[in-house]
């Protein structure tokens, strides 16, 4: 299960197009994780790099499982 602070951050992002645009700027995973952690911390959501990587693995898994 993704870290609960990350889950909360994900919900904030999905409701905020400006935040989405900031996160879309980098495709490099390590840079992206650092950016996500910083933007999360600014909003009171504290999660580790490993939490983001675990969330990415989970996201990949659900995507594959939902293939027809």
């Amino acid at each position: 299960m993704p870290h609960e602070d990350f889950v909360r951050f994900r919900q904030l992002v999905l409701e905020d197009t400006a935040l989405q645009e900031s996160l879309m700027e980098t495709a490099d995973t390590q840079t992206f994780i650092a950016l996500a952690r910083r933007l999360g911390a600014e909003r009171g959501c504290h999660f580790s790099a490993e939490d983001v990587q675990e969330a990415m693995r989970a996201a990949r898994r659900t995507w594959r499982e939902r293939w027809v």
Binding site: R10, V13, L14, Q20, A36, M56, T62, W63, R66, W67
Partner: protein, 329 residues
């Protein structure tokens, strides 16, 4: 959810959760559906960590509401086929024009077409509404030059041709087919999903449920392909609007002209060049040039596959050819 937050997002997956259909939305932005298959475009997008991690999850009703508010671009053509017969090349030719949105074997289209098999009590009317909504939402203009949507369906969707015609009345369609031995040879190397029991209901193939027991996979596949061709032939014979039959061998020589005529494409000199360029590439791997593998396929096929192709598919293939040769050029 209000409409604006889903601008630039597309339904990537539709899935069943607790007996209801849900939508997994992927942020695609302005990225075109230019890959040979719908899912390849999404997979490419999901390499971006943002797109992978942040996906809206909504009910299917949210998608239907979005379609009602923003219907999307008009559907201008449907491409049906028997599989392994050049349909991806047709899709790539259509996608070569930036004003077209080509949905090539889009998973969400398949999910709603087969929803009644997974969730009991879904009517044809409901499937039609969902189908229009999914195609309409996938067919939103995300680039200023986009004007029209084309749907390249999965091979088995021709079994639902009457329903698709009700969903998109008057929209021109074509059915593409190829010599049965060559198609069986292609599936022999790497079987398509419809060539394995499980995807289609035995009743769709005119079989009793118990009839599959002990049936060799090759025979099952040959009978599926025959049934698909029969549905294409029946649909063509009973056509109410513009429709064409297209044989694989015609593609290189007449494909562009047929698409132009059937779908009313108004080509500039640059468009014609783009179509020619797409026709010369290997559709499933566009960095390679197209090579006709007719002879290689004929050499590779097993004696059993050849025999089954001749027994089950050849008669309907020949009927398609006879019908095509009687029709418009």
């Amino acid at each position: 959810m209000s409409l604006a937050p889903l601008d630039g997002w597309v339904p990537g997956r539709i899935y069943v959760a607790e007996g209801r259909l849900r939508v997994d939305w992927c942020h695609l932005g302005t990225q075109r559906f230019a890959d040979p298959f719908f899912d390849q475009t999404l997979e490419r997008r999901l390499r971006h960590p943002f797109a992978l991690l942040f996906r809206h999850q909504t009910s299917l009703e949210t998608l239907v509401e979005r379609h009602a508010a923003r219907p999307g671009l008009p559907v201008r053509g449907l491409v049906f086929h028997m599989s392994r017969c050049g349909s991806t090349l047709v899709a790539q030719m259509l996608a070569a024009l930036p004003r077209h949105i080509v949905l090539s074997e889009a998973g969400p289209v398949d999910t709603v077409l087969r929803a009644h098999l997974r969730v009991p009590g879904i009517s044809d009317t409901q499937r039609i509404e969902w189908l229009r909504a999914v195609v309409g939402v996938l067919g939103q203009r995300r680039n200023p030059e986009e004007q029209a949507v084309f749907l390249k369906l999965d091979a088995w969707h021709v079994l639902e041709l009457p329903l698709l015609q009700r969903a998109f009345p008057g929209v021109p369609w074509l059915f593409l087919y190829r010599d049965p031995v060559e198609v069986m040879a292609s599936h022999q190397n790497h079987r398509g999903a419809h060539m394995l029991p499980g995807l289609l209901e035995p009743a769709q193939l005119g079989l009793e449920p118990g009839a599959l027991e002990g049936m060799p996979l090759e025979e099952y596949g040959a009978r599926v392909l025959a049934r698909i061709c029969e549905a294409g032939l029946k649909g063509y014979r009973e056509r109410q609007g513009p429709a064409r039959l297209l044989e694989y061998k015609q593609l290189q020589t007449d494909g562009a002209a047929l698409l132009t005529d059937l779908f009313g494409l108004e080509l500039t000199a640059g468009d014609a060049e783009r179509l020619r360029g797409a026709a010369e590439r290997d559709a499933k791997n566009p960095v390679l040039t197209f090579e006709d593998d007719t002879e290689a396929k004929a050499r590779q096929v097993s004696a059993l596959s050849r025999e089954l192709a001749e027994r089950w598919i050849r008669p309907v293939h020949d009927a398609l050819e006879a019908e095509r040769l009687r029709g418009p050029p």
